[in-house]
Symmetry: none
Subunit: 304 residues, 5 copies
């Protein structure tokens, strides 16, 4: 137990131990120590669904269609940041500038054309993020996509700019493409573990992954075949992220208990926090705040 505790502390790196420049450290400090629980954990509110899926994601909760409501929710709910595309940042962030950290999502696409070789085009620059007073940028990397070459190329410019400006870089590391589908799918332990590692190898400061599914074993490499508990899987993923802070995604709107259990396991494993969109804004305001309060209780047990 105490060994496990120590192990956990090894896997969630502190800002002092990550090889960060002063600017990246200052901005991550603001996110992790001056907002939310101020204890080194984080919960982010991503809100680019209007671009990625279209307004259909807001159909059940019309007030979720208004970005102002969402940014206010992020502020009032004690989130550590809200992630939006450039258009919404330009139009809405001024109202709450500085009150909640901004994560400028730099790339994004619609889900209308079929994504056989998915690539998320760049819509904004790290300099846009600096100009807006953002504390981090986000980039979606489609790990395993046949478009890997173009993806890595545009990612590289983002990483370089993020280093030049001292801007923390959060990678939405998403396994995608036919090869992934043939190897256990996008949520398999194999795919998520690989995605976490790719982000670390390529210089992310934080990485957003889905919670791994060790039961999805069709076509995965031998190392991922066998009995793994969910806890073992997420611990491995945290280790693979080596000095890259790990955020676990909420994914589609799910039941409270399932959501909380994944949160507990992730934090126990050494994750830095959570990034929950639809699970939050597809609820009523009160329901959303109740879930957030429960998630914060989880995070409060894992200071660093």
């Amino acid at each position: 137990m105490s060994a496990e505790r120590r192990f956990t502390m090894d896997t969630r790196p502190s800002l002092d131990q990550m090889g960060l420049s002063a600017g990246k450290k200052a901005r991550l400090y603001r996110i992790l120590r001056e907002h939310g629980l101020r204890n080194g954990t984080a919960i982010f509110l991503p809100y680019d669904h209007g671009l990625e899926h279209g307004p259909r994601d807001f159909s059940g909760s019309p007030e979720a269609s208004n970005p102002r409501n969402i940014i206010r929710l992020a502020r009032d709910g004690g989130f550590n940041g809200v992630a939006v595309q450039i258009g919404l940042a330009n139009k809405f962030y001024w109202d709450y500038a500085g009150e909640v950290p901004l994560v400028l999502k730099l790339n994004g696409k619609t889900d209308i054309p079929p994504a056989t070789d998915p690539l998320s085009p760049i819509n904004a620059s790290v300099e846009d993020a600096v100009r807006l007073g953002a504390d981090a940028v986000g980039y979606t990397l489609y790990v395993g996509s046949p478009a890997q070459e173009r993806d890595f190329a545009q990612y590289r410019r983002v990483r370089e700019d993020a280093e030049r400006f001292g801007m923390p870089l959060i990678v939405w590391s998403y396994p995608r493409g036919a090869a992934i589908d043939a190897k256990g799918g996008r949520d398999s332990f194999y795919a998520v573990d690989y995605a976490a590692r790719v982000a670390s190898e390529l210089g992310a400061d934080m990485v957003k992954v889905n919670f791994p599914r060790p039961d999805k074993q069709d076509g995965v490499p031998p190392a991922y075949r066998g009995e793994f508990s969910a806890q073992q899987a997420i611990e491995a993923v945290v280790r693979s992220a080596s000095r890259t802070l790990l955020l676990v995604s909420g994914g589609e709107h799910a039941g409270d208990e399932a959501v909380l259990e994944k949160a507990r396991q992730s934090m126990e494993a050494g994750a830095t926090g959570l990034i929950f969109g639809r699970n939050v804004f597809q609820r009523s305001h009160d329901e959303a705040l109740r879930l957030v309060a429960q998630l914060r209780d989880v995070l409060a047990k894992h200071p660093s």
Copy 2:
């Protein structure tokens, strides 16, 4: 009724509340408050059909072939702007420079080759628009096109330049491509709603959409299946455009009453105005002015 009125006022943002820079605000003020009805509404006259469709669009009304006639019509008819390609702007705008706002349409293409992966190439720059004394630029974004990656890339440069120069950016947000055809088509409520949102997420100041058709439900996502009135649909589209002023397109030449009814519904829903080309210039001069007068009556009921 008063609640509905309040709703309308919520959805049509004022220039003070859009997060605009001084330059964008000054130019939009000129368009919305110093031309047309000067009440915050707008009606634009687009005139790039000679490039997009060829002179065939002028075949029934030869005087429509002469850009000078059209710009004069825009001025005399109390339009809030006339949108043309660079060649016509270079040749004709000087004659009426400053008398009617110029919207320089930055991209455009012929309809000759089949548009399986439509993309509208850039023909002019935001700097061209500045040089000509334009008050806005226009960009056609083909939402859902397989060429999305290249489209977003060239759009991004336009957005950046528009921000740098304080130039309002109007996006012609057009659902297009095989995937759109398979999901209800370009006029479906789903497609138009998504298109309005994409423009907002990517930083448009105004967005031009077609009037949504909630009856087109073949292949649309579940959220768009069901009974929606035209009024409900256009209200949702206005909401999705969050802080992006919405212009409803007239589309092909149609009967007066149908045109006016769409205009009424749009303005009631919180649209900022209309953008009518063929419905105007494919009529005789007198008929055109009569329709415009009726449209202005509609707009006059919706000041902001």
Copy 3:
């Protein structure tokens, strides 16, 4: 008759009414008022067939293979300009520099590979034209080509440079590609009319088109189906070119009377002039001069 006369004056714009910069006006003035008939009309001698078709075009008249002969012919025959590629301009224009206006053709290609998506690559710059003392540049635009996106992109740079340097831009506006073939072909009234308009919309100062064939109606849009005389067709094309001076191409070597009739109809319709290559240089020197003299007689009847 007097009404027709007035119509013609409407359609052939004077240099004062074209929205020209001082530099473009000065150079066009030299072409139209200090060479040829000095009456506002023009006849150009294009000579890029060695690149476009190869020396086979000179096989019947060996002296036509020598660019020096052609430039001298342009000078002695009272042409308003000679259009060549950069190599010939560099090698031969010095000899007659200033004696006959130079039109530097900026793009060009061989006809060896099949042209399924034709695009004419750039071989020289507007700055080359300035350096050489040219009075205009020429650009071949393949209207309707699947390569439209790349074509428009490279054309745009030429237009921008031409504006920056005050250099008149003549567009060889050529309908091409499978879609054109399926819609009446490259000489159809529809195709030529569209091509003239595209050049105007995109900022050409002059446009070179083929004489339209209203009889080619297979697959053309409804507006072009019906009984149109050749005169009606060329008049429509001149109108579509709105403030872009129109040059009618001679095309392949044809009989004298047919050539002269097309010239008469074109000038009657308000064209600015003619651009005749093979019809001139594929004749013997004397024959060529005789044809030119007849063409000049036509132009002399249409001063502006």
Copy 4:
């Protein structure tokens, strides 16, 4: 009298006759035809005294210290523009963006160090003016300063940028320096006449000069020695400004009748308008509006 009238019309050029680009024409049209009296005349409110002289210029009228008050005065008083430095434009123009034309003053200096070789350093760019939605830029040229070489060099960049962006350029053409002092001083007919001409020769669109003093003849060249009436002097200055619109400066706060008489003489001579700062804002609000009303009466008699 009628001859004199004609003479006046000769000397105040219309926008159509000034060789303007479309952008400069559009912006000057807005200034001269869409604000103020809308009759082609103009009255500007300059407000850079806080930089040029320090807050002492506001000591008698504390409300004049607040730029917001001044911009509102410009709007409410029907001025054709307000001229400020970049800092005040950045901070205050947004509030009234588009409601009154902005003239961004690009250079300026304090009057603290002695100005033996006066030069006004550049504080902002034409691109700043574009970004802010300004309709003109202002530049102070110290005609006769020993620093002429550096002054002309930095002015040249401004002129080039103003042309590139279609931005009207107003030159504050101020005779200064020891040589001017030795030749009649800064207000002499000689000095003002020369200053008006320098602005025209170097490409200004408008020029601001002081009212000439033909009585100041010590050291002036022979041509300016003799009996000249004030009217003759200002007429000569307007002529020297050849196709450059002339604005007459109010200078220091003076008595109403003297001010009005200079205004009358200037407009009679063909000036386009007036530029009055201290004479306006160093009065109480009511007094200021009363003077402005009288000046507008003068301008109303000189439409163009």
Copy 5:
């Protein structure tokens, strides 16, 4: 009393009313609302004396020579920011990155050569500040210096970069030079008032001035001659800074009561805060904290 209160609120602008971009607003919000008293006031600790004066300024308090001590003092004392040169920022800020806001001082010089035409050379860029995660940059402008031309030129680049990156710009606005000495000296009401205004006219977001001395009247312009109380003087200076947040400098180490009285008068007049270096670090740690506590008590009475 309530009227005076209102006056104060007029003169200290809120972040919403300053015409700020989102980035400048976010960073100023962090300084004013997430550090120090979090009530819209500020107290800064400048620490560039080692460059400006040499280590002699630390001679009485050796621990003040260690930048680490000073940055820790700024953090522990609840300062709103610490201002240092690039070398110390590079070496020391990482340790406390994000814990206390960094103001990167961009220019600075030694006091060894005589400063007849003082100019403070640029040692770092706004991009350096971005890279380090700074929340503001500082620039020393020597108002009245004969080197005004070079000073304004280098300042202009800083202002432009600060706007491009959304970085707040604090101007150390220092009257200097022989002309200032001849006009009441650097602390005269005239000089300080002018300096505050120059910063505002040239686009500072905050301005640091010395407390004005209305008794220094030798050579000042007439407007500054007369009986002015210290309170009246500082109120005028705050007004002159129009929409530029005003910081009052502590200057040389002085007695507690004098220091506190100036602080009270400044805050009463509408200043945003204080910037105290030697008065703080030339004391023992305990004494420093005691003075800071007293100053914070003053600031706590003036929330906004």
